[in-house]
Symmetry: C2
Subunit: 221 residues, 2 copies
């Protein structure tokens, strides 16, 4: 009957109608552990301990360890989508919007490095996230694992606006979006993966990468 590491009092079982709070408790505990210790180092038993239940109880709310990870990835994408929707509100020239969007992406990654790492770099990205890719048309945006495609679609929208505003691109809209995302991802992947590495000045790398990508994709003639 002893539960030494428990965080919550024992014997407080939830009412019938609000069983969903357990799910969120689990996600909260799992996120903290995944971010602090990594995916592999985080055990089901440890998550259960923090929540205050036994390990098998988690399997009532998630099919397996990966399903927990998947839900957390979607949380991260939802945050990213919020940021980009905030940008869509502001009235900006398409080119400014592109640069702002890139800067926002970088800032997002550097402001939430652990979340970015877990979602994009940990190597434990659930297959569903990777497979959803960035073609949102055919996908239910609420299905688990497809929120990444929604975020990418917003980036493509910016390039469409640039074209309809009269400017020319060096590449088709989708290719341009891919190139820019790949570059930005390369930057933040390096910075997030090795934050303590003596990179040359961070601000120069960030500004440089933004200059490089915008200049490289939009025809300036």
């Amino acid at each position: 009957m002893e539960r030494s590491l428990s965080t919550v009092p024992v014997g407080t079982r939830k009412r019938r109608g609000e069983g969903h709070t357990r799910r969120e408790e689990i996600l909260l505990a799992a996120k903290e552990l995944f971010l602090r210790e990594g995916y592999d180092a985080t055990t089901i038993r440890r998550i259960a301990d923090v929540v205050g239940v036994s390990a098998p109880a988690l399997y009532l709310y998630f099919r397996d360890k990966d399903a927990i990870m998947l839900a957390l990835c979607d949380q991260t994408f939802s945050l990213l989508i919020e940021v980009m929707e905030g940008l869509e509100q502001q009235p900006l020239a398409p080119l400014d919007r592109l640069r702002r969007c890139g800067a926002a992406y970088i800032r997002f990654a550097l402001d939430h490095p652990r979340e970015y790492w877990l979602t994009f770099l940990s190597g434990n990205t659930p297959e569903a996230v990777k497979k959803s890719g960035h073609r949102p048309e055919t996908i239910d945006p609420d299905a688990p694992g497809s929120k990444g495609a929604v975020a990418f679609a917003k980036l493509m929208g910016i390039f469409r606006d640039i074209e309809t505003s009269g400017l020319q691109l060096h590449y088709p809209v989708e290719t341009a979006a891919e190139l820019v995302w790949m570059s930005l991802h390369g930057l933040v992947a390096a910075l997030v993966n090795n934050p303590h590495f003596p990179w040359t000045r961070r601000d120069m790398l960030i500004e440089g990468m933004l200059d490089m990508t915008v200049r490289g994709v939009v025809k300036v003639k």
Copy 2:
């Protein structure tokens, strides 16, 4: 005495002086398994089975599972270094050499996608590789985990040549090298991580990224 999955005949113990072949047998088996199944899915016992020895025997040659991984990463970097040294032989204008070098890096990654994945993307990159970073000056180039720094130094050398040839860079040599590597890495990371994803045309992405980076870093005035 039964060993059903064994690949080599039992009872052929190596001579005193040539114990090193075992080490290479282990690396060969581990590489194949890591590449085919991934790091986590590959077990010490399975490697031992393929080699034809018991699991504890591996610990006579490697401190732990990570040390095997580290040796394999160094193998990959050695291959990459070979490619770049081949380029150093050819007499090329510095700008051509830069572009060729970038193209060679991309081709290397796409020709050896599984090795690239294991070394850069699997998320099991040994700490020694990541910490070695790209400052080769203070490091023994033969120490395990430091070959990555050697490869990066060669890229930086190209930018130095560009500068001494009279051309101007938008950034200091090292920053320029970091920016270019980050972009190229972003490209191949995406292509290697999701080879079956419907990217827009591969050749366009590759050429586009090369154009973008060279244009973005070297002043053309």
